[in-house]
Symmetry: C2
């Protein structure tokens, strides 16, 4: 068999294992009975071990070495070889002992973080965090890097990402978003939220509203599902079977709708993949940042726009006739765009969210390089919140202990959240050039042209290019914070009448 054909056959097999794991994982989160947890963990471990064994088969290394010397490959073939190499290296570069050590430490660390947060006592987590940082450094060294160590950690979640590339993005945000938020706070004038907070919002009506909006955007429910789960996510085995979830809170109707639009964005991306590349890494969705761009596009760029609010108002009225009496599209728009600096990232609004991420990025960078000591971390955290958001945590639980990520050793992950926001804004600016009627389309609920644009420029391009190159191909410029900053300025000016 030809080496490339053999590689594809092996990758297909590995992907099949991944698809099966995808279904097991979805089931675990959504409807598995509680007592099934421990044997499900064994099934997932089996899947993970089986996939790892097949990926690390030395034969894959041999095939890759052969193919890397071959000339005349087309872009798909080249991408498959490049991506298979990345996966193979990631799976083989870490010694088995080290992987085990990390896994063991993760379990311990997670326990101590949980306790520290519950007792509001950083010292309980301190030593395990110090070890986690040290392990992250070792991991970076195993992977290797050209610039700084932290680059190797960033690259895990978004191929090709480096400090040199991320720094300017966050600098743009810091210099621009932070003063904007300050100006909003100084000016005051919180929109009227009484119609939201004073009402109860029935779950079946929230479900019906989410379903209508997801269908209108173009999610194909013949090739996917909507369900409820504690932690909303988009999963499932393959593009024919994409399953997203949301959660419902009867005192807050926005969480489920905007969560649904977010997951619908992830879901339409998965459904829009090139089907002739099934089972090939080149056909898979791109890195986490690009994936997040699709969710943020529908959740924020579309969902929190004035035009969308005009279109969706009759649906709100249909599903909540009593609650929505006397509420205008403008009231709705103001309510879904409330800007309010807060201590907690996961509750943050669109304007302040990226500042939460920027703070984490800066801290991670310094922790990994050794510029920042673990003992100085809690105060540094609080000082940065005060500087950039104007708020200071009254305790550690609401400050440095709020996120699970570091306890799991996931250094380098946070920035992808912000990349998604930047990419979404940049993509929409480019899409508008091809669709001068975009605002009018949104007002009429005609989402097909925007989805088609994303299908062609993003979904169908899979992982053929590295993330930054894909963004550049689709928009004409390399990733930049400018589109997002402009978008934010424009919006805040219209909403709050401030220009920073």
């Amino acid at each position: 068999m030809d080496a490339y054909e053999e590689l594809l056959r092996r990758l297909r097999d590995i992907d099949m294992v991944g698809q099966i794991g995808g279904l097991l994982g979805w089931d675990q989160e959504v409807l598995m009975p509680p007592k099934a947890a421990s044997l499900r963990a064994e099934q997932l471990a089996w899947v993970s071990k089986t996939g790892h064994e097949r990926l690390t088969d030395p034969r894959i290394g041999e095939l890759l070495s052969k193919l890397e010397e071959r000339n005349g490959m087309d872009e798909i073939q080249a991408a498959n070889v490049r991506l298979a190499r990345e996966s193979y290296d990631k799976a083989t570069k870490l010694p088995t002992d080290f992987v085990e050590e990390m896994a063991k430490h993760r379990s311990k660390s997670l326990v101590s973080w949980t306790e520290a947060r519950a007792k509001d006592d950083f010292s309980i987590f301190r030593n395990n965090l110090a070890i986690a940082i040290d392990l992250a450094r070792q991991k970076a060294d195993y992977f290797g890097y050209d610039g700084v160590r932290y680059d190797a950690l960033l690259d895990q979640y978004e191929t090709g990402l480096t400090v040199a590339k991320v720094d300017p993005l966050f600098a743009g945000l810091r210099d621009s978003a932070a003063p904007l938020v300050r100006a909003v706070v100084e000016k005051g004038g919180r929109p009227d939220m009484s119609w939201v907070e004073g009402n109860s919002w029935s779950q079946p009506s929230q479900e019906a509203l989410s379903q209508s909006v997801s269908e209108a955007i173009g999610f194909d429910f013949e090739a996917g599902r909507r369900d409820a789960s504690t932690h909303p996510f988009c999963g499932g085995p393959n593009p024919d079977d994409v399953r997203w979830t949301t959660r419902y809170n009867e005192s807050d109707p926005f969480g489920s709708l905007y969560g649904s639009m977010h997951e619908t964005g992830h879901g339409t991306y998965e459904q829009g993949r090139r089907r002739d590349l099934d089972f090939q890494p080149a056909g898979e969705a791109n890195g986490l940042g690009v994936h997040e761009s699709q969710s943020r596009l529908w959740e924020n760029q579309v969902g929190r726009s004035r035009e969308f609010c005009e279109w969706v108002l009759p649906l709100w009225q249909q599903h909540f006739p009593g609650n929505m009496e006397g509420v205008s599209a403008d009231d709705l728009w103001q309510a879904v765009n409330l800007v309010e600096p807060s201590l907690i990232r996961v509750e943050a609004d669109e304007a302040t969210y990226n500042l939460h991420i920027m703070i984490r990025y800066e801290i991670e960078k310094r922790l990994i390089s050794g510029e920042l000591e673990v003992d100085d971390l809690p105060d540094t955290w609080d000082d940065m919140y005060e500087e950039f958001l104007g708020v200071r945590a009254p305790n550690r639980a609401l400050g440095v202990l709020q996120d699970i990520h570091w306890s799991m050793g996931a250094f380098g992950y946070f920035p992808t959240y912000t990349l998604g926001n930047l990419y979404a804004a940049q993509l929409l600016v480019a899409a508008r050039k091809d669709m001068p009627d975009h605002d009018e389309n949104m007002r009429r609920g005609e989402f097909a042209p925007l989805l088609a644009w994303m299908r062609e420029r993003i979904h169908q391009r899979g992982s053929i290019l590295e993330p930054a190159d894909l963004v550049e191909e689709a928009t004409g410029s390399p990733p930049s914070p400018d589109a997002f900053v402009d978008y934010l300025h424009d919006k805040v000016e219209r909403l709050y009448g401030v220009t920073s």
Copy 2:
């Protein structure tokens, strides 16, 4: 590693693959989106191939040969070796070419059977049926047998089953149930079904009723689920995650309740397995006949008893207050025990059901031995229905073409349905000796003692013994039709006042 330990380790791995397949299959039947079908088929094929590869690893053959010469094994060890040998032989005795030939023929045959049934034309299916019979004979020859060829086919679904063992069971039924059914028909006096047929039965109320009854019987919903599907079944990956389904028809409330009790019987069996034998064949539920005994026990022996009807009547009244006005426990009992000879097996009542099976068994036996020619089959079918049930099919679709089994090559399967009915009756007679208050328990909805008896005598005994030996251990006598025949006589006498 010790040979036995190595065997267990390999069996554990194979069982894990089976658990994963169990979940994929459940999902496929219950909630998979329609477009996911073709990739799900590939996932299931992967699981099946992976399991087969691991089971047919020659190392398993070596380990078995070694262990079969070992002395001093306890009953669990001996059972694991015996059961692993059975699986290994079944998986290795058929040449790969032959397995492929069967699979290809099954697809073709299924298509022609579907067409033949739709067009009511046996000749369309005739040739494929003849080939299917020939393939079944070849399969029997590959497996090997001591008595007649058909024995090897029976053994596939219930280990140790032979014509010599089944013949007396069906003879007892034939000589006794057939005249009884005739006597009921001659006497006439159909119970009043107007309250059933004249009402509509809402699905949510049917669901609530099924749920209450299943909980009362003792199905653990923390370790399992109830869902809806077109073809009701009990599946799921393991005893901590047992998932059964039912279907709802708003003009017939009995289908969902008795279907639910049937599947609850299968489900409590799976949940009751010995957990120290997880992943070992000795801990698995016994053959199809024993499994069916647990479903039939709760569906019929309990569910259609006069005492159960007394207990359950208030639940019916609670969930269907309007429909149940003026309906007594006796009305309910009569309605759920309607005896009426009919042409279709899957719609048959408790008294006539086994006659449908007996006819199929006699026919299969003669087809495999060559005593009956395929061309004579349709008329033989009709003649036997007339002889034993007093009804004759007006066409082939309602006659010989009604079942899917032969088109799939599943010769030898039908008898397990009747074995379940016989075992259930025999088990309850034995259980009554230990529980003199059984009827009173049923009247009070105290199902725990009966479930505990089955747990100890059946569920916890897994597959340590062969099916017939298990029945004998549990009841004190080898399988026999007597208990069932007595049960039927007694019931029909009380219901219809006839004694044949």
